[in-house]
Amino acid sequence: MGKTLAEKIWSEHVVAAAAGEPDLLYIDLHLIHEVTSPQAFDGLRIAGRKVRRPDLTIATEDHNVPTLNIDKPIADPVSKLQVDTLRKNCAEFGVRLHSLGDVEQGIVHVVGPQLGITQPGMTIVCGDSHTSTHGAFGALAFGIGTSEVEHVLATQTLPLLRPKTMAINVEGSLKAGVTSKDIILAVIAKIGTGGGQGYILEYRGSAIRALSMEARMTICNMSIEAGARAGLIAPDQITFDYVQGKAHAPVGADWDSALTYWKTLTTDIDAKFDKEINLNADELAPFVTWGTNPGQGLPLTASVPNPADFSNAEDRGAAERALEYMDLKPGTPLKSIAVDTVFLGSCTNGRIEDLRSAAQVLKGKKIASSLRLLVVPGSARVRLQAEAEGLDKVFLDAGAEWRSAGCSMCLGMNPDQLKPGERAASTSNRNFEGRQGKGGRTHLVSPLVAAATALKGTLASPADL
C-alpha cells in the first residue's frame, strides 16, 4: 500500500525506532521567539548543554513587542526583560536573531517562508501552536511546548508517537469574495475544535490546488484550531515558484536536486487515510464566528444560533456560555452586529496578499466613525513591501492605524488590546474569552470581511457595501 504525504515525510526523518517506543524524529528547522524559550535556554545552562545545531535554528521577536515607537526602549519592563533575555540567550548560544528594527523581524511564521528557509519535505517546529502554517509548503510542521524546545535545542530531535492521517478534500471553486480563511473556518465548524486531535491533516482537492501560497498558509495555520497539531498541502509548481529566488532557497545543482525530491512529495494514489472529510467549495460563503471557540462559526448571512437547538449537551452548554460572554441574543442576524475594533494582521492573515485584498476594498473610502481599524503587517518586510505599493497610504487615508510588525492584538501580550466589553472583527485565529484583551469579544473573519466591516461598522462582506 502507498503512503500519504505525512507518512513519507515522517519516515524520512526517523532517526531511531523501537517497538513500543515513540519514534525519534530529526528536526530540520527550529524557530524560536521570546515567550516560550527562556526556560528552555535556562534548562540547557543548568545541564551544561549546548545548542546542537545553531545553523538549523533561528529566532525573532514577535509575541510581546510593541507595534508603535519600536525605535524606543520597550516601555513594559516585564516585556523588555523577556526580549532582553532572548537577545542574551541567542548571543550566548550562537543563535541567529532578528530583533526589532531588523528588516527580517516579524511573526515567526511569516519570517520563515519569506526567508526561503521553509521548504517542502522538512520537519519544522516552534514553541508556538501556529507552526502548522509551514505545512502549506508540504512540510511537517507543528507546535511544541517549552520542554520540547529544550529537547530540540539540545538534540535536534524529538521523540514522538506517529499520529493518524486525515484528508480534508475541498473540491470545486470559490465564489468571488470567499477566501481560504472561509474554507478553514468552515472546516473547523464542521469537525469541531477536537475533530483533528491525534491526526495530521492533509488539505487536498481542486479548490486547494487553486490557492496561492499565502492563502494555503492561512488554511494550514488554523489546523490547530481544528485540534490537529499539523496540517499540510502537497507542494506543486505554485510552491516551487514561491520558494525559488528567496534568500535561503537552494541554487544551481542544489535547486535541481531539491526539486527532484520535492516532486516526490505527494500522497500515493493507493495510500489510505485514517479518516476523510469532504467539503464543496462552490457552496462556501464568507464565514464568521459568533462564539468563544473557533468551531462556533456560521456563514455571514446566518443569525446567532439558539443554544436550545443544539442536540448535544456539551455543545448546548458551550453555546449558552459563549452567548453570555459575547453578549449576543439568539436569532440576531450576524450582519447586524456592530464592532468597535477591526484587527487586520497575525500569522493567519498578516501577509502582503491579505493587506492587498483589504486595501482594494478600502481604497478611496473612509472607515465608520464608530470604530478603529488596526493594520499590523506580519513582518517588517511585509510592511516595507506594502509601503512600496502605496498600501499604507490607502489604509491611512481610510482612517486606519498603520503599525509595525508583530503578533499584536492576536493575543494582546503587547499594548494592542481590546478593553473589557469591546467587540472586534479580527483576521486572527482565536476567539477565546479574553484572547485579545480581558473581557474583549472576538469575531474571526477574512481580510475581505474585515475591510468591509470597517467601512460599514457592522459585520459585512464586500458584497454588502
Binding site: 532517526v15 531511531a16 527562556p38
Partner: protein
C-alpha cells in the same frame, strides 16, 4: 521530573468544555522567564467570579482536576501545565485532551487521564455532593478509584514507564546521540541552513 506512581486527593469539578490554554493562563502572565510562580495566573479571568469553582472553599484542597472534554486546546504554552502544577494539581481527568497540552503535561509529570464522558459526569456528581471524596489515581495499576467505583484507563506503556521512573526525555535521547550524528551525515546537502546569513 518527580516520579508519579500513585496519587490520592480530593477533586475540583470543572463543568466546562473546550477549556483553552488562554483560560488556563492568560497571555499577560506569560512574560515570566522562570517555571514557577504561575499559580496566580491560573484561570485568572474566571477567578474574578466568586461562584467559580476554584473560589469555593470546599474545593480549596483539590489536587485532581475533573475537566470537560477538549481540555487544553489552543496555544502550545507549557505555562498552562506549570500554572496547574504550581497551584497544586497532580492529575487532570477528561474525556478528551488537546494533543500539545497532553504532550506538555507528560513532559512535566502532570498526569492526564482519559475517561469516558459518562464516567466524568458520574465523578462530577459524586464530588459535587461530597467534595471531600478521595480520588485515587494509580498509574501502576492504571486505575482511578473513588467511593465504590474503580475505573481502568489506557496509557501507552512507554509514557507510563517514563512517568513512573520520573525520567527526563533529553537524557534518554542522549543515549541515542550517535544515531543522531549518523543521521546528520546522510542529510541532503540542499536542505536549508539558517547560518551563515544569506
Amino acid at each position: 521530573m518527580e516520579k508519579f506512581i500513585k496519587h490520592t486527593g480530593s477533586a475540583l469539578p470543572l463543568r466546562r468544555s473546550n477549556v483553552d490554554t488562554d483560560q488556563i493562563i492568560p497571555a499577560v502572565y506569560l512574560k515570566r522567564i522562570t517555571k514557577n510562580g504561575f499559580e496566580d495566573g491560573l484561570f485568572a479571568a474566571w477567578r474574578n467570579d466568586p461562584a467559580f469553582e476554584l473560589n469555593q472553599s470546599q474545593y480549596k484542597a483539590a489536587t485532581v482536576l475533573v475537566a470537560g472534554p477538549d481540555f487544553g486546546t489552543g496555544s502550545s504554552r507549557e505555562h498552562a501545565v506549570w500554572a496547574l502544577q504550581n497551584y497544586g494539581f497532580k492529575v487532570i481527568l477528561s474525556s478528551r485532551f488537546a494533543d500539545i497540552f497532553r504532550g506538555n503535561s507528560q513532559k512535566m509529570g502532570l498526569l492526564t487521564v482519559l475517561l469516558p464522558q459518562d464516567e466524568i459526569e458520574k465523578i462530577w456528581q459524586v464530588v459535587e455532593s461530597k467534595p471531600d471524596t478521595a480520588i485515587a489515581v494509580d498509574l501502576a495499576a492504571r486505575t482511578v478509584s473513588y467511593a465504590d467505583a474503580t475505573l481502568n484507563f489506557v496509557i501507552d506503556d512507554y509514557t507510563r514507564w517514563r512517568l513512573m521512573e520520573g525520567l527526563d526525555d533529553i537524557g534518554l535521547t542522549f543515549t541515542k546521540i550517535n544515531e543522531v550524528t549518523k543521521f546528520e551525515e546522510k542529510r541532503a546537502v540542499y536542505k536549508p541552513k539558517t547560518l551563515p546569513i544569506r
